[in-house]
């Protein structure tokens, strides 16, 4: 009992320390983003801004920093890649789960082994292929790579599909439905929860991706959020108040999504991250 009485406050102490470690680096960035340049130069990182509603740095980040363009490009690429990855992933999962065919084991192994290959390093050779396809410096490069190298969602779909009773397929087949109709009209709508999970975890991954847009789309007009924030390092060099505003702008959508979809994100991450 005494040991436990000792442990309980210790438990909360460590938790509060963890909260501080997480919050402090983020809170000081928010504070910095609300200061004027001269204020930033003369005050410490924990000194609150004179005006909590000073959004001038955010305006600068949006207009001069090209973050509007970053949001637009990110949204376009995400929309196209998510639609693609879901169609391809569900089709692959449908073939693997609902057909008995020669080569099924090989296909499974191909997907499984691919998860072990560190993707940043294979870009050395992937780059040559994407370049040869004429996709260098186009949004198509990121879209193709996002939907063509996504294996996690295939696993999520296979897992979920195995819980959908096969008697549904059989009943439809007796009614004369062909395999495409079964996939399109029965399986795809029933996969909705798995699709939601895949959209969440792949959406977050695509939103956060840095190296693919950085390597394949150096054109300034094609910058996504990650790369436009990365480019802040140059022109805004020491203007930490503007860089901070850009950083907050990138984090904010993630925070909102997290607060709204917490449950689904926890569930999706535990099933998706152990790929």
């Amino acid at each position: 009992m005494t040991l436990r009485a000792l442990l309980t406050p210790g438990k909360y102490l460590t938790l509060i320390l963890a909260v501080l470690f997480t919050f402090v680096p983020l809170v000081v960035i928010v504070i910095a983003s609300l200061k004027t340049a001269s204020e930033f130069a003369t005050t410490g990182p924990f000194t609150p801004p004179g005006n909590w509603l000073n959004l001038a740095n955010y305006a600068t980040a949006f207009t001069q920093g090209g973050m509007v363009l970053g949001f637009v490009n990110t949204a376009l690429i995400m929309a196209a890649s998510l639609v693609g990855t879901i169609l391809l992933g569900t089709m692959a999962a449908y073939a693997i789960d609902r057909f008995e065919f020669r080569g099924r084991g090989v296909v499974m192994a191909l997907f499984l082994i691919a998860t072990l290959i560190p993707s940043v390093t294979t870009q050395v050779a992937t780059f040559q292929i994407v370049n040869a396809m004429g996709l260098y410096n186009t949004r198509g490069a990121a879209i193709l790579l996002f939907m063509g190298t996504d294996i996690v969602s295939i696993y999520i779909f296979i897992q979920y599909m195995s819980t959908i009773s096969k008697s549904l397929d059989e009943a439809a087949m007796l009614d004369g439905a062909n395999r495409w109709t079964i996939y399109w009209r029965i399986i795809l709508p029933l996969l909705r929860p798995a699709i939601a999970t895949a959209v969440i975890i792949k959406g977050i991954a695509m939103y956060n991706e840095f190296y693919i847009p950085f390597l394949y789309m150096p054109d300034k007009d094609l910058a996504v959020l990650s790369t436009s924030l990365f480019n802040f390092k140059g022109p805004f060099g020491a203007q930490w108040e503007v860089i901070s505003a850009g950083t907050v702008l990138v984090i904010l959508p993630t925070l909102v999504i997290f607060l709204v979809l917490q449950k689904q994100i926890y569930a999706g991450m535990t099933s998706g991250a152990t790929k």
Binding site: F99, T122, Y211
Partner: protein, 314 residues
């Protein structure tokens, strides 16, 4: 024995012939059908993952620069160079910092997951706070910690405030310190993933086990050691693999924050610089192959040690 096989042989040989006349358009179609669904996903997998991997093996034996039409076969020269040129192989040791960091991170994650799987006030809040950094954009995290480690910045201010001014360093400028700082930022970023995996595994252990154990007089520590740890062995094994392969292929945090300067160069940064900055695609391919082989060996060893614990979804 041989007479039995001989006797059995004729009917076996006869069976494959039997269904053939019944082969209709329908069965041919059913053989092709799954491939119609697979052609795009498998085609892209081959095009964007396996073809590059195969090409990389080819490039690794040449001196190709990635641009010119010709290249010369150089045999194993690139591989020899990786292991003899100190500038190239020394960066492997930088992984050590991240590996130690990853183990520290697993320990912390296991501690917080255990604490939060029992009754705690505000458990949802603590869980969210511990997990959220994992979702944040890597470039944003890089910027957050560039600011955090600035000379005279947040960390220095905190240390001075606590009377620990003597600890102040050039966190990102001093080659003796930079890798600790970057590994620290990595822990901040990835702790949440370990934590949420451990928490999920612990919560799937049936609650009756703890009740039975505490009736038998088991202490909290004994419950942890004899119920929780064996109960989540699978996920701990998986985390070990992710820790090792992750620390060998560290890229984003150091690339974004220091670009590999001041002794923070990692193997992957070196590889992409070799390919895309110095246009030595042959050498870079050999480096990528070496990394790939190491990751595969580590995974194979893990499967030998924990045969039932595959690195997959289940």
């Amino acid at each position: 024995m041989s007479s039995v096989t001989q006797l059995a042989a004729p009917p076996v040989a006869a069976t494959p012939a039997a269904p053939r006349p019944r082969t209709t358009r329908r069965t041919v179609l059913s053989k092709v059908l799954p491939w119609l669904f697979l052609i795009l996903p498998v085609g892209l997998l081959l095009l964007l993952t396996y073809l590059p991997a195969a090409n990389m093996v080819g490039y690794s034996f040449t001196n190709w620069d990635g641009l010119s039409k010709t290249s010369r076969n150089v045999g194993f020269n690139n591989y020899v160079r990786i292991f003899t040129d100190p500038d190239l192989f020394q960066v492997f040791f930088v992984s050590g910092y991240y590996l130690v960091g990853a183990f520290l991170q697993m320990g912390l994650a296991l501690y917080f997951a255990t604490v939060l799987s029992f009754k705690v006030r505000l458990a949802g809040f603590f869980k969210g706070v511990l997990f959220f950094p994992y979702l944040i954009n890597g470039v944003a995290i890089g910027m957050v910690f560039l600011y955090f480690f600035e000379p005279g910045g947040t960390l220095d201010t905190v240390l001075n405030g606590l009377g620990l001014g003597g600890l102040v360093h050039q966190w990102l400028g001093d080659p003796d310190v930079v890798n600790y700082s970057l590994a620290g930022a990595s822990i901040w970023r990835y702790l949440g993933l370990n934590f949420i995996l451990f928490l999920g595994a612990i919560q799937s252990i049936p609650g009756e086990l703890y009740e039975a154990a505490s009736i038998d007089g088991a202490t909290r520590w004994q419950q942890f050691w004899y119920i929780i740890v064996p109960g989540i062995r699978r996920i701990i094994g998986l985390s070990f693999i992710l820790a090792i392969s992750g620390s060998l292929s560290v890229f984003e945090i150091p690339y974004i924050m220091t670009g590999g300067a001041n002794g923070s160069m990692t193997f992957v940064i070196q590889t992409v610089n070799t390919a895309f900055k110095f246009h030595k695609v042959g050498l870079a391919s050999a480096m990528a192959i070496v990394l790939l082989l190491i990751v595969l060996v580590v995974t194979a060893i893990q499967r030998k040690i924990f045969p039932d614990e595959k690195v997959d979804l289940s």
